[in-house]
């Protein structure tokens, strides 16, 4: 019995010791810790890899937690076990900023890196198609106005909505509610359309239909691409980078007369586009010296300008003037204020 007790105590000691050393490591860090949006994730990890390959810093660790999840972790506190940087596919909300302030995360710098468009795409075995945001909303909303009254969506085919549209069944593969792409699609298409329609009483409405016309295809955009290859009558909703990568198989519908092309998305002409951001915790800058190099590399012309590498993997760069503005704001570590976000 005695040996049994001894070995148990020994084991406990080993576990405790390993925890102890783990604690000690937490003060200064070589490795940057980044969390946040899955849309910014591929761009951030490209920059991270470049930093790891071309400098002596270790490659930063990047977790894809979604914009909201990232900001939640980021604003948890100023301790060294919280993330140094968070990526977001939308701007920080004032409520998130206030939470940051309450938890002692006061000195934040905001950086915009470019744009991302949301494509409404189909297999390129079809003729190219031009849709309006209103037509897309009418095809996907649960309740639509018919003769001024809201009714269950009666449209089965695109030609039911407008006779000039093809005689194809309405079937759209898209992301689930947890996705930033879905948020942006709802806001920029569905809510934008319904806000101005009398039948909805001036309120935004974004409930998608549940009769099988909208198919929740999960977080994996690759799956939607594969579905569209097989189901050529269907459409899919996903980020522009997936359209660009699969340009041999898919084509994007033009929306309100504008095709999803880099220039149109960058200039804001393409109506379904959003801006991409990251936020840095400046109180960590001294303890995590690699942060400055990472931020500088991310904001460099080499990465996010019109000639930058990230354009090659689907980032849509900002116009020259705006880029210069953001580069200088970030370089001087301008502190983010609540008034910036309103």
């Amino acid at each position: 019995m005695k040996r049994f007790a001894v070995s148990t105590i020994g084991l406990a000691a080993v576990v405790a010791a390993s925890m102890g050393t783990a604690h000690a490591d937490n003060h200064t860090r070589e490795q940057i810790r980044i969390v946040g949006s899955s849309t910014v994730f591929p761009f951030a990890s490209y920059v991270a890899e470049e930093l790891g390959a071309t400098t002596d810093w270790p490659t930063p660790v990047i977790e894809s937690t979604g914009s909201g999840g990232g900001l939640k972790l980021f604003c948890e506190g100023a301790g060294m076990d919280t993330p140094d940087i968070t990526n977001a596919s939308r701007r920080m909300k004032p409520s998130e900023f206030e939470r940051c302030q309450e938890n002692g995360v006061k000195d934040i710098t905001e950086a915009m890196v470019g744009y991302d468009g949301i494509a409404f795409a189909q297999s390129n075995t079809n003729d190219s198609i031009a849709l309006t945001r209103e037509q897309i909303a009418m095809a996907l909303l649960e309740k639509v106005p018919v003769d001024g009254k809201l009714v269950e969506n009666p449209y089965m085919k695109w030609s039911d909505i407008d006779s000039s549209l093809p005689d194809r069944e309405i079937r759209v593969y898209g992301p689930p509610t947890t996705s930033g792409t879905r948020d942006a699609f709802e806001e920029l298409v569905l809510e934008a359309v319904t806000e101005d329609m009398e039948a909805y009483g001036g309120e935004a409405y974004a409930n998608l239909r549940k009769d099988g016309a909208y198919i929740d295809a999960g977080e994996n955009d690759n799956l939607i691409v594969q579905k569209l290859e097989k189901d050529t009558a269907a459409f899919g909703i996903f980020g522009y980078s997936f359209l660009e990568e699969n340009s041999g198989k898919l084509s994007g519908a033009s929306i309100d007369g504008v095709k999803p092309e880099p220039e149109a998305i960058g200039s804001g002409e393409y109506p379904v586009s959003r801006s991409l951001w990251f936020y840095t915790k400046n109180s960590h800058a001294d303890e995590v010296p690699a942060m400055a190099d990472y931020v500088k590399l991310f904001m460099s012309d080499k990465m996010i300008s019109d000639l930058g590498y990230l354009k090659g993997i689907g980032l849509i760069p900002m116009p020259e003037k705006l880029l210069k503005e953001w580069q200088s704001k970030v370089a001087e570590r301008k502190q983010l204020e609540l008034s910036d976000l309103k």
């Binding site: 576990v15 783990a22 490659t59 660790v61 691409v225």
Partner: protein
Amino acid sequence: MAQSLDDISRQLKKRHRRSARMKWLSMAALAAAGAFLVFFLVDMLVKGLPAFQQAYLHVEVDYSERASELPLAAVKADVRELVSRGYLRLIPNRMQKTPDLLGTQRMEWVLADDAVDQYLKGRKTGLKDKQITVVDRMAEAGNAELRFNTGFFTNGDSKLPEMAGLASAAIGSVLVLIVTMAFAFPVGVLTAVYLEEFASDNRFTRFLEININNLAAIPSILYGLLGLAIFINFFGAPRSSAVAGGLTLGLMTLPIIIITSQAALRAVPDSIRQGALAVGATRWQTVRDHVLPLSMPGMLTGSIIGMAQALGETAPLIIIGMIAYIPDAPTGFTDAATVLPAQIFTWAGMPESAYVERTAAGILVLLSVLISLNTLAVFLRKKFEHRW
């Protein structure tokens, strides 16, 4: 009521028919299960095998003054976009390390861009017509070829599909499993020994056993939440580290190890214990010198199966931050690390077709490791098994 021979033989026929029917039904079930397995394996092999080859190009590299500033200048304009950026971006560093390179030009086999790789494997790519003619010409002259993809086994993750490999994730998996086993094996075996050899059979121990059996069946993501609360938030283990991941998976494998160890202990006949006690050994001596050695093969088998399960687990690791972009191999238990199934999960979400290929190849590698582990478990059992 007496039955005639006719009645009996009719009944017999009926019973035989029923027996034959059940036999066919169970064989059909086996065939269906087998068909799914074969379909999965063939699909993975077809998709994954091309990833074990990688395109290389034979090009002239010009180590000029300019190339040390602008690495793109090191190769001719027509192949600039065909050569991997992962190769080009290292040129300035290499030139700094070996100054002799400056001013020389040499023909080198260099890693090709993933688009070239996919084109040579016969897939649709975004290559422009002009680039396709260049690649075709090079392939004809023997200057573009597919070789064994050593990078897949020596590189970490990468945003350049042609550079991406499994090495960091494999090292991460090994570190995690070391922690898992160092924690779960002794704790699990000692728990089983106490429950089987020392504890009296009362309500409390029966309650414990029901709970242990129950724990073996709860969804693994709950262990992730538990791991986050205990190891990271309370003990302060670093997020994404092998310590945090290994201990969390250790919690998950504990019930399996306890249950299999108990079964192994129960299989040791009581006559052995009685023999030892009869010559004056203490309870613990009996266990240590007689029962444990005899039940060890069974315990090891259970542990290996538990380890195989831990190796393939991702859900609890999402919560503790191991499903992330972590290309550097961890050098210690507290470094950020990722594991094989996490790597596969990350690749599965990438748009480039070269990643689709790598996803399947990663699955093939993971399956091979799991098959080896399970074979080892069967082998150990066969070799050391005692029959009474």
